[in-house]
Amino acid sequence: MRKSVFLNVFGLVDCNNFYASCERIFQPSLEGKPIAILSNNDGCVIARSNEAKALGLPMGAPAHQYNSFFNQHNVKVFSSNYPLYGDMSRRVMDVLKQFTPLVEVYSIDEAFLQFEGFEHYDLEEYARQIRKRVRKWTGMPVSIGLGPSKALAKVANRVAKKFADRTGGIYVIDSEEKRIKALKWLAIGDVWGIGHRHNKRLVLRQVRTAFDFTQLSDAWVRKEMSVVGLRLKHDLLGKSSIPLEMIAAPKKAIATTRSFESLIDDYQELRERVSTFANLCAEKLRQQNSRCHALVVFARSNPFMPDLPQYRNSTMISLPFATNSSLTLSKTALHGLDLIYKSGISYKKAGVMVTGIVPEDAYQMTLFSYENPKHQALMQRIDYLHKRFGPHKIKIANQDLNRTYKMKQAHLSPRYTTDVRDVIRVR
C-alpha cells in the first residue's frame, strides 16, 4: 500500500468505447463483437468498438460505402441513440459524484475528478472501488488515470487504457520516476491539447514526446503556444496549473444543420426547414441559459452531383438585442434565407448557427429596440410543455405542423432507459 507523494490529486475517468458499451449493456451478446455507431442521419462512422478498430474500419468512414465491409465482417451497426447515451452518461457521472464532490464533466464519456484531503487514502485502491462501482451499478466499463495535475491524469489514463491487461484499467502517476517514464512514452501528438498544427511544429523542432515538450524553455512555449501552452507544460511537470472547471462554460456557438435525405427544390419546404433549425438553436440557447447576438443561415446544393447547378451561400445577421426567443430567431433566419435564396437550385443541406452568445444574466436592454417581453413568458411556457409532453409538440406557425423532420436512423436501438415502451424484455 503506497500513498501518493503529491498532495493534490486529479483523476480522469474515461468510459471505454462509450457508445458501443451503451449498446452492449442492453445487448450483452454483443460483447467481444465488432460494433460501429453512425452519425446523425446514418452518415458516417463516429464510434467503433475495439474489435471494429482491429478490423481496420476507419473513423469517419461513409456508411453507404462500407455496407459490404459491415456484412463481410459481421459488424453490428447502430444509428446514434443520443437519448440512451445521454442517460447512461448521467448515471456514470452521478456515481462518480459519490466519491468526490469535485467533478468536472469534460465530455459525454469523460470526467475529471479532484481529490482534496485524501492524503491518507490509498488512491489506487480508491480508484479500483470507483471503477468497480461504476461497472456494477451502470454496466459501464471505465479506465482511470490519476496524477498530480489534470494533464498528468490524462496521461495516466492513456497508460491505463493502452496496457489494460497489466494495469487492470487503472494507472497512477505518483512518483517522479513514473511521471518521466510515462512522458517519455507518450508521443507529442497524443498529449492533451496539442492539436495538429502544434504537433507539426513541435516535431520539426525534434520535440517527439511529452517529455521533450517539458524540456522546452518557458519563454519559447509562451511565445509560440501562448499561456495555454505554458499551463500545459507546468501541468505535465507535476505543478497543477489547469484548474478543475465544475461549471461548464456555455458553448461559444450553437449550430443546427442537416443534410436532407432527398434534395429540396421547393422554397416553402426550405423555409420550413430553416425555421425549424432556428427554433432548435433557440431551444438549445434557453437550455444553457444564454442568448445570442447574431445568427448565420446557410444553404447549399449537392457538390457530389456536378451535373446539377451548383450554389452555396450564407449570410450573417446581427440582432439588435441578445435573444433566445424562437419567434425572433425564426423570423431572422427566414429573413436571412430570403437574402441568399436562389431559385432553380436543388438544395442538399442547410443550417442555422447562432453566435455572440452571452449568459442570460448579462443581457442588457437597449434603449430603443428591444424584444417584446411577452416572448420570454411564452418561451418559458413552451419549454415547460415540451418537458411535460415531450419535445417538438409545439411549433411556430411557419413550421409545418404535419411534418416532423425524420432523421435517417435505420439501425436505431431501443431507448431502453428513457421510454418505458422500450425497456429490455426478460423471459
Binding site: 448515471r91 452521478d94 462501482r133 451499478w137 454496466g139 418505458v420 429490455i424 426478460v426 423471459r427
Partner: protein, 125 residues
C-alpha cells in the same frame, strides 16, 4: 388535495399550511438508487408463481448484491431471463416459479451474469 394557502391575504391562515407535504411519488417508493435503477418487461409465464405475469414492469436495482432467494435478471448464454436465485455451496440454481419450467443449474460451462436484482413489480389490472 390541492393546497393553495399562501395566496390568501385576508382572514385566518389555513391551519393546513404548516402540514404541507409533497405528494406520494411511486419513484420514491420503488427507486432507492436512481443511477443504478433500470426497468424490464416480463415476457412469458416462467415466474407467475412469484406474481410476475407476462407484460408486468420490473424495477431492477443493479447496486444490490445477489443473495439466495432474491429474484434477479440474469444473463445466461447470451439471453436475458428473470428467475429466483438459489445459491448453494458450489453452484447456483435459477429457479422458475412455474411447474412447467425446470430449474437451471449454472455450471462451469454456462456463462452467467447477474444483471440486477428485481425490487418491485408494477402490474396493470
Amino acid at each position: 388535495m390541492w393546497l393553495a394557502g399562501e395566496g390568501v391575504s385576508a382572514g385566518f391562515p389555513s391551519p393546513a399550511d404548516d402540514f404541507k407535504e409533497t405528494r406520494i411519488s411511486l419513484d420514491k417508493v420503488a427507486v432507492k438508487n436512481e443511477a443504478a435503477t433500470f426497468y424490464a418487461r416480463v415476457a412469458g409465464q416462467s415466474m407467475i408463481g412469484a406474481g410476475l405475469d407476462d407484460g408486468d414492469l420490473l424495477v431492477i436495482d443493479r447496486s444490490l448484491e445477489p443473495q439466495d432467494g432474491k429474484i434477479a435478471v440474469c444473463l445466461i448464454d447470451g439471453d436475458f431471463t428473470v428467475k429466483r436465485l438459489k445459491v448453494e455451496k458450489d453452484c447456483v440454481w435459477l429457479i422458475a416459479e412455474n411447474k412447467r419450467y425446470k430449474p437451471i443449474q449454472v455450471t462451469e460451462e454456462n456463462e452467467l451474469m447477474i444483471w440486477g436484482i428485481v425490487t418491485h413489480v408494477l402490474k396493470a389490472l
